[in-house]
């Protein structure tokens, strides 16, 4: 590592000092956090399977029954197709919204302090966590895709559609996991977080177009759903995932809403994350 003849106070090379402030380093630090998550999943892949139970139940129980009710899905899309995109977004949402718990857990253990004493910009750490949630959500998405194919959903398998759907899932999970991180910074204990997480998931899920179109909603709920980012995530996923799917708002609007909301949440979380070290 180091030989004994070196200068009295070994410090950083000038290159390191200089590159400490570049985009390249920001990307490396962000990537470091997400890479650690991938390594953890690699060591314990069973967790992914246990999380896959919920989307399976939604599609095979709820979906099969609701498919018999006529007129829920708009246009000529079979309900199970309509639902598949919603459940894809939902499974990503559920992974993301409880992500803050892991931040509290890391704080209690002490692992979080290790990130906070590093020179990585706080937002790089937050974006890294958001990407980590995205990685987990992608593994969920893979399971939902296979399941949907098995159930005969008309899945669009064009590479550009799959990549587009993957991008939306990462963006959406990043958004909700950052929201979750902000809540974790406020409530600070796992017990309180569990309560709030439960309270949040219900309205985010049901006040959206995930399992029924907004046109079926009373006007006030439709308004609420229009400011719910999940609605735009589902809207984009329907267009990208399904052969017969279309977007109500257009993909640029969907991407734009998710992207801008994410940026706002990340900058808020970056300010709050440091307080977790207190």
């Amino acid at each position: 590592m180091v030989k004994s003849g070196e200068p009295a106070v070994p410090s950083m090379s000038t290159a390191e000092r200089y590159f400490g402030w570049t985009i390249g380093n920001y990307a490396t630090q962000t990537f470091a956090v997400a890479a650690a998550e991938v390594q953890k999943l690699y060591h314990d892949p069973l967790e992914l399977l246990t999380r896959a139970v919920q989307p399976v139940l939604w599609l095979m129980l709820f979906g099969e029954v609701m498919a018999r009710v006529r007129g829920v899905a708009p246009g000529n899309i079979p309900y199970i197709d309509f639902l598949a995109a919603g459940i894809l977004a939902q499974s990503a949402l559920f992974v993301a919204i409880f992500y803050g718990i892991s931040a509290i857990w890391e704080r209690d253990l002490g692992v979080l302090q290790r990130y906070l004493v590093s020179p990585a910009p706080r937002t790089a750490l937050v974006v890294g966590k958001a990407l980590s949630a995205g990685v987990r959500a992608l593994s969920q998405a893979l399971i939902v895709y296979f399941l949907a194919l098995f159930l005969g959903v008309g899945i669009d398998l064009h590479p550009q559609n799959i990549l587009g759907a993957a991008a939306i899932i990462v963006l959406g999970s990043g958004l909700f996991s950052t929201l979750s991180l902000i809540i974790a910074c406020i409530v600070r204990t796992r017990e309180r977080f569990m309560g709030i997480g439960q309270v949040l998931t219900m309205p985010i899920f049901f006040a959206s177009n995930a399992i029924y179109p907004l046109s079926l909603m009373p006007p006030w709920l439709s308004v609420v759903s229009h400011v719910n980012p999940l609605t735009y995530e589902v809207d984009a996923l329907r267009a990208l995932m399904l052969v017969r799917g279309t977007s109500d708002y257009g993909l640029p609007v969907d991407f734009g809403v998710l992207f801008i909301t994410s940026i706002v949440l990340i900058s808020i979380a970056g300010r709050m994350y440091r307080r977790m070290g207190y």
Partner: protein, 277 residues
């Protein structure tokens, strides 16, 4: 091997603390602390639980902003230049800082990336750190399966990859058996003797502090109540006094001193011991 280092700071003082204060509500956890810590020394920080040791370290490591006062670490101001401070320090917290669901190697890789160690140097530094800490054999095993002593040595390795000038070690030997404690201290001494690192160490083991620290400060109720070499402190009490005697003499053994630590502190310490042991 050739290394490109910035010129060593000319100052002989690694950490300069001036009137540093942190209040939580009305309580001053750290109360107008003034201290100068010399370069290439092992500085022991002792005091009862809840006396302000951890709060002081959290401020010096930029985790917690001070209420008033100032400090420089490795020549950088903790309030005005926090990211420069972070770049030049290593911190081994009392709690776990190695991730149990990653391997030792992966933990070190994470640190090199977070600290911006150039890609070309990462592997070599990690390899060197693993060998130095006696962990080369278990590098690819999950840290969750390490012993307490191995985890501590890995955590110290994590903090050395970016070659920090100042290293903070918060109770590095808590919950370790005597031979693991000795192994940890061997590494700490080597860091001072061979690499001239400055180290600030807290411990409840007065024998360790007495044996290994060049200077000691005793902190109680957020204030420095004694500061000097271990022999100076002992000589003030009695010719044959131990550092334990110094501690008891200055802090007292009253229940008031004992109860200050509180449930949260006990829970944390016990859990840290449990996780490490």
């Amino acid at each position: 091997m050739p290394e490109n280092h910035t010129p060593a700071p000319t100052s002989e003082v690694a950490v300069q603390i001036t009137g540093l204060t942190r209040k939580f509500g009305d309580l001053a956890a750290v109360d107008r602390v003034t201290l100068a810590i010399d370069r290439s020394k092992i500085f022991g920080l002792i005091g009862p639980n809840g006396a302000g040791k951890s709060t002081l370290i959290k401020m010096l490591t930029t985790l917690l902003p001070p209420s008033s006062g100032s400090a420089t670490v490795a020549g950088f101001d903790i309030v005005k230049q926090p990211s420069e401070v972070r770049r030049h320090i290593g911190y081994v917290p009392q709690l776990l800082s190695a991730d149990g669901s990653l391997t030792g190697y992966e933990n070190l890789l994470l640190s090199t990336r977070l600290y911006g160690v150039a890609r070309a140097e990462r592997k070599q530094r990690i390899k060197g750190a693993l060998e130095r800490m006696g962990l080369a054999q278990v590098a690819h095993r999950l840290v969750g399966q390490y012993s307490g002593g191995m985890i501590r040595r890995l955590e110290i390795a994590q903090c050395l990859l970016h070659r920090p000038a100042v290293l903070f070690l918060d109770e590095p030997t808590v919950g370790l058996d005597p031979s693991a404690r000795e192994a940890v201290w061997d590494r700490i001494l080597e860091l001072r003797n061979r690499f001239q690192r400055t180290m600030i160490v807290t411990s409840h083991h007065m024998d360790e502090i007495d044996e290994f620290c060049d200077r000691v400060a005793l902190i109680d109720h957020g204030r420095i109540v004694a500061d000097g070499t271990p022999s100076e402190l002992k000589a003030k009490i009695a010719p044959s006094a131990t550092l334990d005697d110094v501690f008891v003499h200055l802090v007292g053994t009253s229940d008031e001193a004992q109860t200050r630590e509180g449930y949260g502190e006990v829970r944390r310490t016990r859990r840290a011991e449990h996780e490490h042991g």
